[in-house]
């Protein structure tokens, strides 16, 4: 009797476990538990956890808050589009807008300082992808996500969009500067 036929005996559930199966199930189960506990463990002892802090917002409100820090902390502009580069004080709230097809403004942060980075979209979904760090976060319209982050190495980083957002998705890229104090 094979697996494409009904089991030979009606009481198939009485067949004892083979040693191979029993051993493997035990090992696999322990491994599943290890993997499960790794996640809470990392919340306590690990340093890389995605924040749970988020608020509902509207494009107008979010635009206005971003405009405020742009007005206060812009240090220069870059490219033909005159994208403002914002250098906010260490430890402050920093705002980044995702919209078709631009990240706005550009940010300049200080090495070793902690910032509260706000992320929201003005229109469709976008994907915040910081390279080469490779930190990837989904950006929604209507939700303001607050991620606390600490750049540890000075340098020029890129933010690209990795959630498909229409025909010019691949043009949506920006910079993030991390400078030494």
């Amino acid at each position: 009797m094979s697996a494409i036929q009904p089991p030979a005996v009606r009481v198939w559930w009485k067949q004892p476990l083979d040693r191979v199966e029993g051993t493997w199930i035990a090992i696999a189960f322990v491994w599943c538990l290890v993997m499960f506990f790794m996640m809470p463990y990392w919340h306590v002892y690990g340093k890389q956890n995605l924040s749970n802090e988020a608020y509902r917002t509207t494009p107008e409100r979010y635009q206005q808050k971003t405009q405020e820090i742009v007005d206060r902390y812009t240090v220069r502009t870059e490219t033909d589009l005159k994208v403002p580069v914002v250098h906010p004080p260490a430890g402050s709230d920093v705002y980044l807008i995702a919209r078709l097809w631009q990240w706005w403004p550009m940010l300049e942060l200080e090495e070793g300082k902690t910032y509260r980075l706000h992320l929201a979209s003005m229109d469709w979904l976008h994907g915040f992808s910081l390279q080469p760090e490779n930190i990837n976060v989904e950006v929604h319209p209507g939700y303001e996500h607050v991620v606390t982050l600490t750049p540890t190495r000075a340098g020029t980083y890129s933010i690209i969009c990795n959630e498909y957002c229409g025909i010019n998705h691949h043009t949506m890229a920006s910079r993030l500067y991390v400078v030494k104090r």
Partner: protein, 575 residues
């Protein structure tokens, strides 16, 4: 109308085919293969565009073709074939007539109309929204309508399958419990019903939104419900291809489950836990708590992963036992060395199993871990993962099954048997390498669904490291090998079905209910049937070779898991 009770018996395998079931299975399989053909052409175009050195299509065509590739492959090819598998596991394995064949044809017609409508919407050019169609990005209403029609058709197919089980029971065409393979198909069917319900909950409002009757679709709500549909449908695939693995082990080796209890419980775990898994698509999203994410993505403690790890042992274990009982009992691996590696039914199934476990399974757990998702989300690692699961795993399993079905179902001899020997290797190994290098590029941050990673002409563009380009190149070359394997498959199947030499000796004859009844199994002393497998194996292990392979798998899994945590720990601190 009188019920069609015409049956034929296959002279080589002894399987019994009901006339309507026979025709339905064939038509669904053919519709699936046609979708595979279209999706395959698109796959080549997408691959050649993502190969930086070639960069074939312009951006608008790339996004259009990628949308169509995702839909034709993941939705239409897979689900048409799955309906065929359900009817096979129901009507054929239970030697029964199919319930309500007219409904089954209606379902099939809806699926065809839906698939065509959706494709037309995409190729018109205003619905390049990817198969996920995340609101608030909108497609033409026909895009959603096509998907809804297709889903309704598939739902009818599921109920026809369940109805067939009822008919088989009431007409007594089998005794005792369902065969294991049919049981697996039932789990796939139950998951499918849940899946389609979630699909309706999200696609119907989105359709109404696209024609202006609903004013707003929340993007987070959309992603949450969409993935209850999108992820669960992947578990249909898993349940279906695991059933096929068992079926092929049974067909090629006469294998039976090591223990029915373990294998069936593992199938049940899929039903119990996998709906939660859809949450692992939302790990990088705002507005959900970590507790919610951890509970759901671990499938409430990885019990569905456990189920797959169990099947990963019991399927080859069943083959090992069957081989050892035939006398290939020496050493750890004689059973495997002496397996019919030139038979595509077996080789395809075995590559599917190994590739699904090592590449698809391990990478899936990485992405589904709350924190590790940060370094993987939306990179090309993701398509790397699912080409290992749904292409190496599901598609290749379905391909191997067709090599069995062509003689018994289509009653034609296989054409190009020499090519068929090689096809699983070309497709399976090409695809495995393709998936592996996609994952490699993803680890370096290369995004998925991206037309130009060189950011040509963009003053703010990012320059990916040279290794990323190298990996994308090798990925594309491997993809081309897989496409050649896919062409070989289409050549063999289409050729055989239309031009293969006919196999006679199995005509349909009317059979009364009484004649169709199964004869009761020969009485067997219970004690003998439930004790183990005799004196095969090593050290009390009936399948020591499989166990060794399983340990190799575990070591790879554990190492790679902690390598990823190590990588994560080098990132900027985030909280």
């Amino acid at each position: 109308m009188a019920i069609n009770r015409n049956f034929r018996t296959c002279p080589t395998t002894g399987l019994v085919f009901h006339e309507q079931a026979d025709r339905l299975i064939r038509w669904n399989a053919v519709a699936g293969v046609v979708s595979l053909l279209v999706g395959g052409v698109l796959a080549l175009l997408v691959t050649l565009t993502r190969w930086p050195a070639v960069h074939l299509l312009p951006a608008d065509w790339f996004y259009l073709v990628l949308t169509a590739h995702g839909l034709d492959m993941l939705v239409f090819w897979i689900i048409f074939f799955e309906i065929a598998v359900l009817y096979f596991c129901g009507a054929v394995l239970l030697r029964c007539r199919i319930a309500a064949p007219r409904w089954a044809w209606l379902g099939f017609a809806l699926m065809v109309i839906g698939a065509v409508t959706n494709n037309v919407a995409v190729f018109r050019g205003d619905s390049s929204v990817m198969f996920t169609s995340y609101a608030p990005m909108g497609a033409h209403p026909a895009f959603y309508l096509g998907l809804i029609l297709f889903a309704v058709g598939a739902l009818i197919g599921c109920f026809v399958f369940l109805g067939t089980l009822v008919v088989a029971r009431s007409e007594g065409t089998f005794h005792g419990s369902l065969p294991l393979v049919t049981f697996g198909a039932v789990t796939a069917c139950i998951i499918a019903i849940f899946t389609i319900a979630s699909g309706a909950i999200i696609l119907i409002p989105t359709f109404l939104w696209s024609i202006g009757l609903v004013s707003h679709i929340d993007s987070l709500m959309y992603r949450t419900v969409w993935w209850a549909f999108g992820h669960s449908s992947q578990q249909i695939n898993v349940a279906a291809h695991v059933s096929i693995w068992y079926a092929i082990a049974a067909i090629v080796f006469g294998a039976k489950a090591l223990s029915e209890r373990v294998s069936r419980t593992a199938f049940l775990l899929y039903i119990c836990f996998l709906q939660l898994a859809s949450a692992h698509h939302l790990l990088a999203d705002p507005g959900l708590t970590s507790n919610w994410k951890i509970f759901n993505t671990s499938y409430a403690m990885y019990l569905a992963v456990l189920a797959s790890m169990v099947h990963g042992l019991t399927v080859p274990g069943a083959i090992e036992v069957a081989q050892r009982e035939k006398g290939y009992n020496r050493g750890l691996f004689e059973w495997l060395r002496k397996a019919p590696w030139g038979n595509p039914v077996f080789s395809g199934m075995f590559i599917s199993l190994v590739g699904f476990g090592f590449l698809g399974g391990i990478s899936g757990v990485m992405m589904g871990t709350e924190q590790l998702n940060l370094i993987i989300h939306n990179t090309i690692y993701v398509p790397g993962h699912f080409h290992a699961t749904v292409v190496v795993g599901t598609t290749l399993a379905f391909m191997s099954m067709t090599y069995f079905l062509i003689p018994v179902l289509f009653r034609r001899e296989l054409m190009f048997p020499g090519l068929a020997r090689w096809q699983p290797y070309l497709f399976g190994l090409g695809m495995s390498s393709f998936a592996l290098f996609m994952m490699g590029a993803g680890t370096l941050g290369v995004p998925r669904r991206h037309w130009d990673i060189t950011f040509a002409g963009n003053p703010l563009g990012y320059e990916f490291p040279g290794t990323a380009y190298l990996m994308m190149g090798i990925m594309a070359l491997s993809g081309i090998v897989a496409v050649v394997g896919g062409i070989a498959y289409l050549l063999i199947t289409v050729g055989s079905v239309f031009f293969g030499k006919r196999i006679g000796g199995s005509e349909f004859k009317a059979l009364s209910v009484r004649e169709g009844r199964a004869s009761p199994p020969a009485p067997q002393p219970v004690a003998a049937a439930i004790t183990g497998h005799g004196s095969i194996g090593i050290g009390g292990f009936v399948a020591p070779g499989t166990f060794t392979l399983a340990l190799v798998f575990l070591v790879a899994f554990v190492l790679y898991y902690f390598v990823n945590w190590k990588y994560l720990s080098t990132l900027w601190p985030l909280s």
